[in-house]
Every structure is written in C-alpha cells, then in structure tokens.
C-alpha cells in the first residue's frame, strides 16, 4: 500500500494556488502595459485621497456635532434638576 507523499501533496497544492492567482497576475501585467495608464492612475490616486479625507472628515464632523448636542443636553438636564 502506498501512502501519500506530503512533499508532493504540498507541491500540488502550491501549483493549484498559483493557478488560481494567475488570472489576477496576468491582468496586472496587461493593466501596466495599457496606454493612458498614467492618466488613469492619477484619477485613481485622486479618488483614493478624496475617499480617505472624506471619510475622516465626515466622521470628525459627526463626532463633533454629537458631542455638542450631548453637552447641551447634559447642561439642560442639570439646569432642570437644580432649578
């Protein structure tokens, strides 16, 4: 009876994984060689930075609005309790 060779199994799994990843790797090579890539890249770069600062700015704005509203609410409640 023959057992499974772990090394051969490992090599086969590795090949399988490389085959799965191959389409994305090919797409990457094709994308890099396409004309107008620099212009497109700039658009993507601008989009990414807008997203980063947009998300952070929106969160900071929401946080400060909520903080102000809650501070007002605490002040009002304290006034009612004391008054």
């Amino acid at each position: 009876m023959h057992g499974i060779d772990p090394a051969a199994l490992g090599a086969s799994l590795l090949t399988l994984l490389q085959e799965i990843a191959a389409p994305a790797a090919r797409a990457a090579e094709e994308a890099a060689s396409r004309p107008g890539t620099a212009e497109r890249s700039l658009r993507f770069l601008a989009g990414a930075y807008i997203v980063v600062w947009g998300v952070l700015g929106a969160y900071m704005l929401i946080l400060s609005v909520r903080l102000r509203a809650l501070s007002r609410q605490v002040r009002r409640l304290k006034e009612r309790l004391e008054g």
Partner: protein
C-alpha cells in the same frame, strides 16, 4: 475626575494641533518628496495612506480586545467605554483600507477585488467589528451589551494575525509591506514617508479616541441624570 478630564482636554488639543501640522507635511512628502515607484507609477502613492490606515485599524482592534478583556476582568465601565471607542475608530480605518485597497488594485491588478486571503480576511475583520457595534445597539441593557461585545471584541482580534501572516502562509498577490528581517525592500525615502504618515494616523487615532470616549461619558451622564430626575421629582424627561 475633573483633573482627569482637564488633562484629556489638553491632550486632545495638543493632538489636534500636531495632526493639523503633520497632515500638510504628509501630503507634501507623499506628492512631492517621495520618488515615483517604477512598476506601479503614481497610483503606488495610495500606499502611504492605505498602510497607515491598516495599522490604525489594527490598533483599534487590538485596543478593543485589550480593554474588553480588562472589562470582563474588572467590570469597570471605563474599560468598556475605551473598548467601544476603539472598535468604532478601528472600523472607520478598516473602511478606509477596504475602499482604498480596491482603488489601488484596479489599475495595478486590473480587478477591483479578488478572493485573495488578505483581502478576504480584512473584510471579515470589518464585518466582525461592524457586528460588534450593531450588537451593542441591539442589546437590551448596557451591562449585557458590554459583556457580549467584550467577548466579540476579543474573539474578533484573532483575525489580526491571520491578516498579517496571510501573504506568507498562502503566498497571496498582496504586496508584503513589512519583513521581519532583511528590510521591506522599500526606498529609504519611501520608508520615511510611510513612517511619517503612520505616526500622523496614530496621532489622529488618539485624538478621535479621546473625543469618542468623551461622547460615551456624556451618554452615561445623560442616562444618570435622566434616572435621577424622577427621584428628585423634577419631571425631567428621559430624553430631551
């Protein structure tokens, strides 16, 4: 308590001032001082904010796990506040990672998304902590929410080493940013730019964390005042 709040306020202003100074410097370094990467071109510059955002997301998740464990041990509400705030900010930075990643991948890999392990495990991390935040909102009482969320906060952090080691374990397509030995293969100027952006993001994280904890304290104060109102007979409503 007042001293503690005063110190937090000073630290908050200091962090904001530092972030205000460092963000324009980061932008100048990223867009002017750092050389353009040969293979990927200008789109590689996304890396200088994508990677620090990922580190900040890890910081948020890590802090959430630590403070969740502390809460389960000590049952101190303050630990739960920090864990909640860290998770929320961690989700914020993880969202940035998950948006900027595909924006980088589209021109470089030619696809927005692929079933690569690092991408998938990062998406899972995001889903776990969005679940954490939803769980807190849907629980019937605060004590129960804190207890259950703490468990999710600790278990969810187990995804972090998988994300970090996934490129090595599964030989994924995702570029390896840090190598434990032999350097990261980055130009020293790129390394310095990455370090500067990471420090800036960590300072921003600290600023947001202090603000978010203050928000949590105010919510607690409102609850306490609203509970106190009927006892004093002032008739103040629970919510204003």
């Amino acid at each position: 308590m007042e001293d503690e709040r005063g110190a937090a306020l000073i630290l908050e202003h200091l962090l904001l001032a530092l972030v205000g100074l460092l963000v324009p410097l980061c932008l100048w370094v990223v867009f002017v001082a750092v050389p353009t990467e040969e293979k990927m071109g200008v789109v590689q510059r996304i890396f200088y904010f994508h990677v620090p955002a990922a580190f900040s997301a890890f910081l948020g998740v890590g802090l959430c796990a630590i403070f969740s464990a502390l809460y389960l041990w000590k049952r101190d509400r303050r630990y739960d506040l920090v864990a909640h705030a860290s998770a929320e900010i961690g989700v914020l930075f993880c969202t940035i990672v998950l948006i900027t990643g595909p924006i980088w991948a589209r021109p470089v890999w030619g696809v927005w998304w692929t079933g690569e392990v690092r991408l998938t495990s990062t998406l899972i991390l995001w889903l776990i902590y969005v679940g954490y935040l939803l769980l807190r909102q849907s629980a019937e009482n605060r004590e129960q929410a804190a207890r259950w969320a703490a468990v999710v906060g600790i278990v969810g952090a187990l995804d972090m080493p998988i994300i970090y080691k996934s490129v090595e374990w599964w030989r994924g397509l995702h570029p390896k940013v840090l190598k434990m030995s032999g350097g990261g293969g980055l130009d020293p100027r790129m390394e310095r730019a990455l370090l500067l952006c990471t420090v800036t993001f960590f300072l921003l994280f600290g600023y947001l964390l202090i603000q978010r904890c203050r928000l949590g304290r105010l919510e607690d104060e409102i609850d306490a005042l609203a509970q106190d109102a009927p006892r004093r007979g002032t008739g103040a409503p629970a919510t204003v």
